[in-house]
């Protein structure tokens, strides 16, 4: 059951409200607050920049290492292919030349370069076709 409210309570509430408004005044910022904050903010910036730079340098180093590994691998493969192709060509000429001379006479010597040119043209055309179709699909 609610107690009957004293008519003076309203007046007391109002008086307390005024007293509270006077007592609980908003505190102002302490002296040097903004300056301290600015200094703290400035201190964080170089730290963040240094961290960012270090992270970027690490990332760059990893990418560079990957690139170098890939490049060295490519060079090794290219060199291997060239040496292999050289030996294979020498071997082919050693075996094919007597057979060509026997069948085509002295003109048989020219047959090998012609075959090489034909094979080269076929390879070039196929590579060109692949690349152009890749370019078409990308566009």
């Amino acid at each position: 059951m609610n107690m009957p409210r004293d008519p003076l309570d309203g007046a007391l509430d109002q008086a307390l409200d005024r007293a509270l408004a006077k007592t609980l005044t908003a505190p102002g910022l302490p002296a040097g607050f903004r300056e301290q904050l600015r200094a703290a903010v400035v201190r964080t910036v170089p730290e963040d920049r240094a961290q960012l730079r270090a992270a970027l340098e690490r990332e760059h180093a990893v990418q560079l290492a990957e690139l170098q590994d890939g490049y060295v691998l490519l060079r090794q493969r290219t060199l291997g292919t060239l040496i292999g192709a050289g030996f294979a060509a020498g071997l082919a000429v050693t075996f094919a030349l007597p057979w060509l001379k026997a069948h085509f006479g002295d003109n048989g010597v020219f047959a090998l370069p012609v075959i090489g040119v034909v094979i080269g043209l076929v390879l070039s055309l196929s590579v060109w076709w692949q690349r152009s179709s890749l370019a078409r699909s990308l566009s």
Binding site: L8, D9, A11, L12, D13, Q14, A15, L16, D17, R18, A19, L20, A21, K22, T23, L24, T25, A26, P27, G28, L29, P30, F33, R34, Q36, L37, A40, V41, T44, D48
Partner: protein
């Protein structure tokens, strides 16, 4: 994705959000400081009781806001986001302080309330007494009442700062005032004239 209705604070802070979207974090933080620096400090004061600790908490909160500002994703209004960071910072500091001392022990709080409820000392200023009575209120009432007067009696602002619904704030204010009136009357200081003279 959660959509946030644009409140007054949201509209007011649109310029800050636009600066952030444009990558101008420095100027955006300047505006944040201009608008929220004092409010964050007052919120910290109301939560921490001690002004030095409140200043430290406010500094740390604003520093954290500066660092997190580029990642602000607008899922909550800027003011809500700022106040949440400040509140969390204060609550962490309060938890840390609780580990260090036992001021928040219920027994100690009761003893403090009993001391306040004792007869006022001769010559004690009415407003000092009122301040002590406010300090002796239960924590949720004290915070709400203190912030309400700090924020010039804006229930909406107090609700935003404490992260509570306005209805809860109004209820806490009503109960805080009722408790204060009750204690004032118990001390024999229920005559409104006594307070009007001192508050004038």
């Amino acid at each position: 994705m959660q959509q946030v209705a644009l409140s007054d604070a949201g509209r007011r802070d649109r310029d800050i959000v636009e600066l952030l979207q444009g990558g101008s974090h420095g100027p955006a933080f300047d505006l944040v400081l201009e608008r929220y620096e004092r409010k964050v400090y007052r919120l910290c004061c109301s939560l921490m009781r001690d002004s030095d600790q409140a200043a430290d908490a406010a500094q740390e909160s604003l520093l954290r806001i500066w660092k997190a500002l580029p990642g602000y994703d607008q899922r909550a209004s800027l003011s809500t986001w700022i106040y949440t960071i400040a509140r969390n910072r204060c609550l962490t500091a309060i938890e840390r302080r609780r580990d260090l001392d036992s001021l928040s022990d219920p027994a100690v709080e009761q003893a403090a309330e009993a001391a306040v409820a004792a007869a006022p000392e001769a010559g004690q200023d009415q407003l000092d007494l009122l301040r002590e009575l406010v300090e002796a209120l239960p924590e949720r009432y004290r915070r709400t009442l203190t912030l309400y007067y700090y924020e010039e009696k804006s229930v909406g602002e107090v609700a935003a700062m404490l992260g509570q619904p306005e209805g809860t704030i109004k209820t806490n204010l009503h109960r805080a005032r009722a408790l204060l009136s009750e204690r004032v009357c118990a001390l024999g200081l229920g005559d409104p004239k006594l307070w009007l003279e001192d508050a004038a």
